[in-house]
Amino acid sequence: MVEVRFENVSKHFGKVIAVNNFNLKVEDGDFLVLLGPSGCGKTTALRLVAGLETPDAGNIYIGDVLANYLSPRERNVALVFQSYALYPYMKVFDNIAFPLKIRKFIKKEIKKRVHQTAELLEINHLLDRKPRQLSGGQQQRVALARALVRNPQLFLMDEPLSNLDAKLRVIMRTELKKLHQKLKITTIYVTHDQEEAMTLGTKIAIMNEGTLQQVGSSVEVYSSPANIFVAGFIGSPAMNMLDGELIEKNGKIIGDFGIVSYSLPHEIKEKWQSKKLVLGIRPEHISITKEKITDALKAKVEVVEPLGREWMLLINVKGKTLTVVMKPAEFIELGDEVYAKLDEEKMRIFDKESGKRLEYKNSKSI
């Protein structure tokens, strides 16, 4: 079990920049999820740690060891592939035993360890089968067993659940979490599925276009997104975004977002790069009432999606469409006129040019 550090790591493939000046520290025992859209460089970052790619610039440390030029086998890391990459010509037993055989373990020890690992993952009854005779979930377990059997200091997983059906994915997700809680091996896990990231990761690192956007717990990245990209990427349905402007009026600083305006503290003026702003508010932070209340906006219900435990609405406020998630409310019907109130404490304001969120004390509606 070790910590992993990326220090200014960059990797190019021809003209494509896969990872750009990447800095990240994965603490000992962490389950870090690298999350981002396809092609954001998360898999490359993982492969750099595994030693399957060499960085063009910067350093990667596994523990205290500079790992840049170590071959994969010198790193004592285990990697679970998206396709599992089980050797099709070997039985399950031999697949799991392979890393031990390569390391010249004695037969007795190999047998003992394979059986122990198989027991942990509940696959002892499959040891005599070939990979093609296994279901997706079973193959997944075998791939995990092959990775676990040699007690690696670091566990790497590249979208290991993406080939499973939705139901099995949820089951395996829980199992992975339990396994990590039991073994406490430092894990880096790559996925583009934010639900997976939020449920599995003790920390989530969000990447876009090769750069790190934010690292934090699932609560942190959800409630305090560092920038517009994270705000838009995390959360389903996505955060509502309203474009606006910073204006000065009677000595006050006001954020004008078309349908709403808020007075903002003076300190903001120095921190803003441009005068263009974006207001972000999560769908669940807009409350809907039939009756008019103070500071509420008049809106028209355009779409109602009753999803069972909660309802999703699309409402129109002066030509702007907002998504709202709320408890089932049978009084609301399509085309209704309602009042929407934005929770000021929960809304986030970003500088449009830099994309960054600005920290400030809660503003007051005007």
Partner: protein
């Protein structure tokens, strides 16, 4: 109406199959039947299709007058050598071409394929001169090298297409599991085994049956292969010993029959599936 049409179609199909079978099997039958006919009956007119008289005289003469066993051993050593050299170099080259990009790698494969299209005869003199200078004339190694040269392009081309279909993830898994880069290659080799099998069969046939290079490079019984030795019998004074020649040819084709019998399913599968 439809039934009649189907009947005609099937009849034509069977007829075509029978013709094809006849054209393949009759020469083999004729070879075998000649080898067990008494020498005087071989030229009887009209030719006797059925075997009326049976003798092993030709086989006895083959072993007494021709160093057949020695030639057979030479053929075995040379084919074995060409298989080992051609397959190991060919598959490794194919692996390299499939997995690595280097300056001109895109054109390299086309170049290899083109080299296969050049008639063998064009290589005879350069190879003869080269092997004379290297003192390889009349040695097993001399023939092995010549055979490897002409089996390599096809092996490389075939194996590259097999390697291209094998996901890199297997080798990467092997690397992370603790293999060296060289050892990880064997994971891909193992997965490309059907391709290697196909290449082995074609190499075996090419080298086992090859005549021209063997004729040019070999001189004595020390290295002469069966095809060269058999053809040598044609030059005997007074009379060509057809019985002995066919006896030798028949024994020489037996390993090919055996090979075909044991691996026919395997080869058909690999040709159809491409892996």
């Amino acid at each position: 109406m439809i039934r009649t049409k189907k009947f005609i179609n099937e009849t034509l199909l069977y007829l075509a199959v029978c013709l094809a079978l006849f054209s393949v099997l009759f020469p083999l039958y004729w070879m075998f039947s000649t080898s067990i006919k008494p020498p005087l009956k071989i030229f009887s007119i009209p030719p006797k299709l059925l075997i009326e008289e049976f003798t092993l005289e030709n086989y006895q003469r083959l072993f007494a007058e021709v160093p057949f066993l020695h030639n057979f051993l030479n053929s075995t050593i040379i084919t074995g050598g060409a298989l080992a050299l051609g397959l190991s170099l060919g598959s490794m080259a194919a692996y390299g071409l499939s997995r690595y990009q280097f300056l001109g790698s895109r054109y390299f494969l086309s170049f290899i394929v083109i080299s296969r299209m050049i008639p063998y005869v064009a290589f005879v003199i350069p190879i003869y001169l080269l092997e004379t200078n290297l003192n390889l004339i009349d040695t097993h190694l001399g023939v092995i090298l010549a055979h490897s040269i002409f089996v390599l392009p096809f092996t490389i081309w075939l194996m590259k297409s097999f390697f291209d279909e094998i996901p890199k993830a297997y080798e990467e898994a092997a690397l992370v599991d603790g293999c060296s880069r060289f050892r990880a290659m064997f994971v891909a080799m193992r997965l490309a085994l059907p391709g290697l099998g196909t290449a082995a069969i074609l190499t075996f046939l090419d080298s086992w049956n090859e005549f021209m290079f063997a004729l040019i490079i070999t001189r004595t019984d020390a290295s002469q292969t069966v095809p060269v030795a058999i053809v040598g019998q044609l030059q005997r004074p007074y009379q060509v010993p057809w019985g002995v020649i066919t006896a030798g040819s028949f024994l020489f084709t037996l390993p090919i029959f055996a090979l075909g019998y044991f691996i026919q399913k395997y080869v058909a599968k690999s040709f159809v599936l491409g892996r």
